[in-house]
Symmetry: C3
Subunit: 314 residues, 3 copies
């Protein structure tokens, strides 16, 4: 593997999931791979799961890790080309990235969207400059449009918990007080479309995602209908893609409740976390035995370790 | 050892101190214990000694360490139960903690009190949620009411420096411009009460600590009288427990001076640091040969390493 | 080597450069040297290259690393002697440093000048207190007046790229929107004066550096004339030393352009980074094949590793 920024960087998806399952059973058998190798983790935004799980994954492989919160620890970065840099930014991202590549064998980067200009965000300017200038393999720790380490953990978890060969998996929009990126739902759609599942997305009108990612999904505007027969409910808020970055609804009828879960086929409840309790999902659901949010978060480690292993192997 | 949050988590106090003394002589002999183990250090407040000494302790044992300043690097945490999370907090502490437990083998956490509500602070809500939800052993890096790693280093230092079998140890309040927690004096009292010392606390009236910790101490309101015959003077400011979080006095007569030290039996001077020079203690005392504040800080390493070793051993 | 804060800490400069060249060919052969050793990196200011390259250097030598942004992670430090500490600062730098020395085998520290008082800045108060109180070897990660790890990398790069035995090396001032320290040009002058090069400094009048560092340099106020026959152009902005900390000029005629580079002997372009593109240097120059800013940044790793190795060897 040369990089990991999308499901399209994966040659054989089911083989990748099987490799994660094997790794989980025997986490320390590949420590030679990481010897004398350094992973740099560059954060432009907050992170808990990604920060901790990716560090642990690298440590399990014998790598050293350097973590940097670039906006706090380093210099404000310019991202535009050809500009006269007499403003706030002290360094151009392409210089910073080329320098990082001198010290790190693999670089992970997190860069959230500003949700103000769809074209700019969907151009993936930051991660593309990392790919172009670092000279070493790049891993997305959540880009402006995708979060592949999360989606890999999602698919791994569904593979472990599924009760039927081709389970019904429902991605449901849920309310939230703030405007959130589309990266997690885009990415989930991208991965579910490549996997062997019956994939349904449900959301209020106006919350349609980019068809580039949802081409293989059934869209169902009636949440109750969508939940029928579901084996997995994956809840997530996102802001509107078409009315870019806007909050069109905070309707609490979309909150995942115990009553709604009764419509499913005794479905497992999933969420990528962090989650707003009693807004996105009620305590009664996330604290129920059908909630697998913590093992799902645990699988972030094995997803990251599998990706790092594949990259270390070349 | 299953956790380390109080002297009550210690089975045999004098054996623990002896183990630290042995470890100090041969610091790297237990590196196999930490192999493939990760310590997570979660800070909600500033830290110098605890941050550095606990990292070094883990490294000496062959562990990997992940440090996280949760409020800066992660998401703002909700700590109340059952609340509708539509405010600032993006994640509930119980979800964050359960996730951390997926990636770390031991977790240390620092959470200072707000000093506004005694009942809330003394309920130890944060560290108790770590104990309840992490699923792995928890080490206090200073909680709202106790600082056991400091107290262990205090006792280790007294054991090393004492000239008599049962030395007189005096904890003296000292002035300070800001309202400080009671964690260090509570914890010192808890540990001294469990140790074989003649323990005296001196402070202005109104600064009485929670009797839960000082049950075995003699309280002496006359600082001069308290200092007579002392072998160790341990200075520390704290805000009032009874008039909770208030500063009742900034009286510089309580500052530890060379003149006051003359009343003692050539006592050693101790303080946990950081210390306000010429407010808590005069330069002439802290810079004198009788000051053992730096070796005391050095013993933080051996206290932390002994605790980690005991937990790794199960 | 006992410390690394200036070229004066180096016994044999050309031998040091040769050692770096050898290390670069075989980076992992000295991992035994760092076993059970901990490097503490203390930052009072932002850092990208120094932060990452010094961590990597220590890892290549088998050391563990602890990084601390002291003003964010720890306590505000007092630096004056004998003061009554009842203000903002919670800890005296001499206590903090003595404590760090208890946990670290080598300490690196970065402390920028405030550029308000020349005597205070040039007294090097912070790094001198580290040297005095830490009890372990100190490495400058850029002090108020010098940046020796950068200068070592500069000299290493010139040694690798030079086409003549004694190349003409030109340090040119360039415009910048903010007042910057003199540490990089001071240090570059100090190292070039100790090396076997034909060294010229060019800058507008009023930007003369401290003669202590430039005693062996030719000063040329005409930038075009200075560039003639140059084999290396090293661009850098600094604020005035004589009109201390002031910006006397923002004249864009001093920006390094392709036209100016034509005056040279096909010179290599160098800058320590971060660099303001199209203010200090035009894109056409820094993106040209003659730009060696990225390999120069890469050499920061080998400079740091050579220094750490020499200190570990004693």
């Amino acid at each position: 593997m040369k990089r990991f920024t999308s499901v399209n960087d994966v040659n054989n998806l089911s083989a990748l999931v099987q490799e994660a399952i094997q790794l989980k059973k025997n986490p320390y058998q590949h420590k030679h791979l990481g010897q004398n190798k350094v992973l740099g983790l560059i954060f432009m935004n907050p992170s808990l799961r990604t920060r901790l799980s990716t560090q642990r994954a690298a440590m399990n492989l014998g790598m050293n890790v350097i973590v940097m919160d670039i906006n706090k620890d380093g210099w404000k970065l310019e991202t535009r080309e050809g500009v006269i840099m007499d403003g706030d930014a002290a360094e151009h991202v392409k210089d910073a990235v080329a320098v990082m590549g001198q010290y790190c064998d693999i670089i992970g980067v997190r860069a959230f969207p500003l949700l103000q200009n769809k074209e700019e965000d969907y151009a993936e300017n930051v991660i593309n400059q990392f790919i172009k200038y670092a000279g070493v393999p790049i891993i997305s720790l959540e880009s402006t449009t995708l979060h592949p380490l999360q989606s890999f953990a999602d698919l791994l978890t569904i593979t472990e918990y599924k009760k039927t060969a081709k389970p019904k998996v429902v991605l449901t929009w849920a309310p939230h007080p703030k405007a959130l990126p589309q990266a997690v739902p885009n990415s989930f759609a991208e991965w579910m479309s490549a996997a062997d599942v019956d994939f349904v997305i449900t959301h209020p009108e106006g919350y349609e995602l980019d068809k580039k990612y949802t081409w293989n999904a059934k869209i169902e505007y009636d949440q109750n209908k969508a939940f029928e027969g579901a084996e997995f409910i994956y809840a997530k808020n996102w802001s509107s893609y078409h009315h870019y970055g806007q909050i069109l609804s905070k309707d609490r009828h979309w909150t995942v409740s115990a009553e709604k879960m009764k419509l499913t086929d005794n479905a497992y409840f999933m969420h990528c976390l962090p989650v707003r309790r009693n807004v996105v999902v009620n305590d009664e659901v996330i604290d129920s035995p059908n909630s697998i949010v913590i093992p799902l978060a645990g699988n972030r480690l094995w997803a990251a370790q599998t990706v790092l292993k594949k990259i270390l192997e070349g």
